[in-house]
Amino acid sequence: MHFRRIARVSLLLAAPLAAGAAPATEVELERRFAQTVRPFVTTYCVSCHGGKSAAAQFDLQSYEKMADVVRDHPHWALLADRLRAGDMPPKPMKQPDAAVKQQVIDWVGEVRSHEARKHAGDPGIVLARRLSNAEYNYTIRDLTGVDIRPAREFPVDPANPEGFDNSGESLSMSPSLLNKYLQAAREVANQMVLKPDGIAFAPHPMLVETDREKYTIQRIVNFYEQQPTDYADYFLAAWRYKHRAALGKPAATLASVAAESKVSPKYLPMIWQAIAVSKEEVGPLAKLQSMWLVLPAPQRGQDDLAKDGCVAMRDYAVRVRELIAKHYYSPIMRGLSSTSQPLMNWKLNQFANRRREYDRGALLLEGEGLPTVPESPKSGAFFIPGNFDIVGRQAQAKLIKARLADQEPLRVPAGQREKYAAAFARFANVFPDAFYIRERGRFFPDLTQDKGRLLSAGFHNVMGYFRDDLPLRQLILNEKQTKELETLWAEFDFIADHTIRTYTQYFFNQSGEILGNGRESGSERPADMAITDSRVIFGLRDQYLAKAASNPQNDPLVKEAIEAHFSFVNAAIRAVEKARAEAEPKHLAALTDFAQRAYRRPLTVAEKADLLAYYKEIREKSGLTHEEAMRDSLVGVLMSPDFCYRIDLLDTRSSNAPAQRLPAFALANRLSYFLWSSAPDETLLKKAAAGQLQQPAVLMAEVRRMLKDDRAQRFATEFAGHWFDFRRFEEHNAVDRTRFPQFNNDLRQAMFDEPVRFISNLIQTDGSALDLLYGKYTFVNPPLAKHYGMPEVTGKPDHWVRVDDAKNYGRGGLLAMSVFLTQNAPGLRTSPVKRGYWVAKRVLGEAIPPPPPAVPELPQDEAKADLPLREMLAKHRENPSCAACHARFDSLGLVFEGYGPVGEKRDKDLAGRPVEVQATFPDGSQGAGLDGVQTYIRAKREKDFQDNLCRKLLAYALGRSLILSDEITIDRMRARMVASGNRFAPLIETVVTSPQFLTKRGGEPHGRTRPTEE
């Protein structure tokens, strides 16, 4: 049994009315069923289509009343279609009288019109349903700001008869899926970060200390790395300012140049002053000024002509800065290692606070002897307690050696020491020896070893972090940026708890040093456990102080270092404690806010109270910590059907009531899941809360705003992905990669992205939907351009460009996109059958039944076949029972024979035979290649495509299969589409303002309009 959908239903609907006849009444139609239709099928049809073994399982005996026909109207629409086409009854059988046949055909159409009118505006049944997997992922991404994709472990969602996975008809729940929901919710909750002012989400779990450190450290390091700290960029910016007139910007200011050159507007004036304004006679600044003066002037407006010169200036400044760096040492305390935390932190503080000073001892005064390089102590001595700072001395020896090897910049004429010293001080003040320290090993400042310890204090074995970024704050950052950085550091301690943990590790693993127990031993566990208590901290301090005081030979700075260290530790720990206590109420507020966004509607007072009561209960009665209780509460929110189900709540309870207007928040949800596959954003919720969303003008404005948003790309992915059946192509594995080595993961991804890019662009530019069929352009990235033989596109795979003359490369529009050509090829050959079937069914909306059970196999490998596929198919069509279907789509695939199994252009098939691309289309016309099929569609099938687009769009928007009463809306969509030049936005607006979209009902569905496909 071969169905074919009735083309252009609108004509059927309109025909009886246009003829001026009054619409038939129900009684009348019932009578005609009994008198004409039923006898007709009994005579001509039931001999095959009757009883238990009815042909094509279409038992025409079973329809006893008109209501039976209404319920199964799609089959009857096809029956009428086959009668009209003259396919049925088959030729050898008795043929009916033409007039009677026409009466039956008319009757089917009139029943359809009758039913559509009778239920006009019926919203149909839109079942409550869980979020689809895609919606779940998108919603979590929008809720958390992180692309966690917790649904990746869920089984694939089944599609409904319209081909979409977003309806209650197909989305079901099971215990094993619920278990996965539980794991998914837990996964999301595990990535929650508690911050001083609320909650956030990390891109990874945040349960273990190493995770928390990774998250917080990475944020600070990223911030540092984004700052403009390269001197060369500042010199170049200064040069652009100097030559602003020649560069065509006579009105430029230092601030405007800084903005254009992406350097700090705070620091650039200092650099400008130092190299272009101030008068320097000697020292490094004088040298930089002389280099500055010989920078070339711009030619032909080239604004980076001086780049090499600026790099040379930078290199000079950096080199001198390294040579005059000042080193600091841990103060010496007998019986205590110089790497003891109080002493080492003191040393690090000297470095951090004096980065704009320099070592006067670096200057080499003429007439005075050169310094001698001290013997570099062996690192073995490192382990002798009470020794001086060996690491520091080693670094100093290395530095003196470097100064002797590179004396020129440091030489000072006899008798001019003070003049030079002042000049070096001015230089050092503008050019710090570092803006910030990103990583630090235990041989600091020697960076030749121990790299990669981000923000580390460089302690041996125990953890510890140290902040060193004063010059960055003083010279580069503005107030807002400084505040941001302060927040990042405060959150570092709040989230990763590093001060407490450093102190704890130190207490248990190093503080024993004060008792003479050796460097890797701890203090005894205090009975009360509270080692972070101020009393314990200061008690330990006093032990250190006592030991420091016990030997008069100890450096007096030791006392200062010890006091500063323990005060710092205590203050930092107390600050975190305080911030924690203050943060809890904010976390709870963030929890209810999260629930509100997750439920996509305002929470009632009772719901809020209930959520907080649950938190309190598990915290107090179950003894969970604040963090655990927050995580569990979050899991509870994500497991609640308010989140993971889409239920359009009506204002009043109404089962089987007539259509009711959707309340504002339900409408906001429908809209956002239609256009974004995700939750409404704040703007949309605000409009809903203000009661404005149901005003047509506001609704339209929102639709247009949402279509411009990046999230509309999800509409392209989900709607078009299902419509054109490429949604799962990212996992497509049917290509033999040894035969087609060009098909790698990058190319596969690019193939998938091409239609998404194309359609997103159509939507965002509100282009013509017919571009899908006839567009001469497409979008490519580097791998796809290569695959298509287009001019090289450089850059990463995420660099996409529009190609306007794609036609010249055999591309343009959807039909020749390699994703479809590849997906519809079985691997080692093409498949004109599958490709043609895809065009007929997916693009043009023709209903074609699946093949009968016993079809002859085509060879798997084209290279090993005796005949070209085209000829094998021609043979196949010689069999009339095959021809009935194949005649409708083989030709639509044969025209693509010029594209191989992965959509590549080709002249020969895999066996080396020249390919032919001409075909005879179902209407008898002929054409060749992409052009040929486009011409045929334009002439004969464009309306099929438009009709199909309207139907698919409506079904997707409503989240259900279509019903007879939708025909009126589909008519309206088609009319708007034609009137607006096939643009997308008016089409979407028609959907959004349709009664189906704006209202809801309960009750049983009427018939569907189309048979279930597959």
């Binding site: 649950y614 009665k621 969970l624 509870g636």
Partner: protein, 444 residues
Amino acid sequence: MAAQDQQKNNRIPRRAVLRGAGVTMALPWLESLQVRGATTKAPTAFPKRFGVMFMGCGVNENQWSSTGDGAEMKLSKTLSVLEPLKHKVNVIDGLYLKMATGQGIHPAQTGSLLSGAVIHRGPIIHAGTTIDQVMANKVGQDTAQQSLVLACEQPMTGYHETNFSMAYSSHISWQSADSPVPNEVYPSLAWDSLFENRGSLRNLSILDRVKDRAGALSTKISATDKSKLDEYMTSVREVERRIEKTRETKTAADDAAKGKSKPAWAMDRPSNGLPEDLREHARLMCDIIAIAFQTDKTRVATLLLARDLSALYYPFLNVKEGHHAASHDNLSDGYERITRFHLGQLAYLAGKLDAMPEGEGTVLDNTCLMWLNNLWSGRKHDNTRLPLVLVGGMGGALKTGRSLNYMKAGNENRKLCSLYLSLLDRMDIKLDRFGDATERLTDL
């Protein structure tokens, strides 16, 4: 429907039995709860358990040897603590882990010990899933906790001079390449984790809440929508029922012991805080593992007794130096005493499990405890052979009472990961490869 209501009434409301931390509660602890559902089904086989105990920095190699099998087995001074149980012991000498050698000392010798992974230097931590977690992922689904990961010493997260993170020295269990399993150092919290308010049972409280929410919602929606929501509710109830089955375990443990007319063993909740005395700390951790194994709260446990680069110290053993410092003189009597103390914890836990009847044997007979060290000799940082002892018969899957020596078997045939493959086999987890091994250990 009526049956369901009745069940509901018989059940003590779950939230009522959630206990707060700080409450002292003795086992047996479930007697007052009538366990509903299919409780009559007798277990066909007792669960197999696996435990790891770790001590870092090596042993006194002069005092570590075992020869002969069965009654002929001769144990050296350190190993003598296992004398009473030696028929249930396998002393395995000569295994090693190639990727733990040649990378530098300490953290690099430890981070891959239970995974056989290649670990990374620098700021980004990267190791591999460890054998205990591979087992836990498989056999831990039906227990209150997938695994217990305990430690008697706080972790360190700084950097060693080799630029490997100290996290590798501090954690022996890794749940993924990126993250260790957090160590529990507090006995009280470890104890809590086994009972009502923790672990997978936390989900029950959440599901309870979900039912409340769904119930509230269902009063507001149409009959058709309700049918979809019912599908959800049914799934929630089913999952809840599955989780609740884990509550039957105490009864099962009591039943298993019944033949010996001995109830499951009882234990008080340890008090809050860290025990001041290491001996008490270690003992409590062993007790918790024992009761968790007996009542089938978990089937996999690891206990880090002393981490690599440990800073524990032992006034009660009359050793002045800290653990790591002492290990540099590992041939000393003092370090032998330290080693014997930690191996003594294995003897203690094994003895405890052996005193717990289960079926015709004991819990120990259905368990395998593995004690190992990351080094052979601390003064040489030598890890080309590792001290390792197995105790327990794994439900008859493992022959015991043997001295096994692989020193002369050749490097290909003495891989630590081969032992892991063999142990995984005996836990009914068949893998083609673990770490660097594709072959099982011969003659185990």
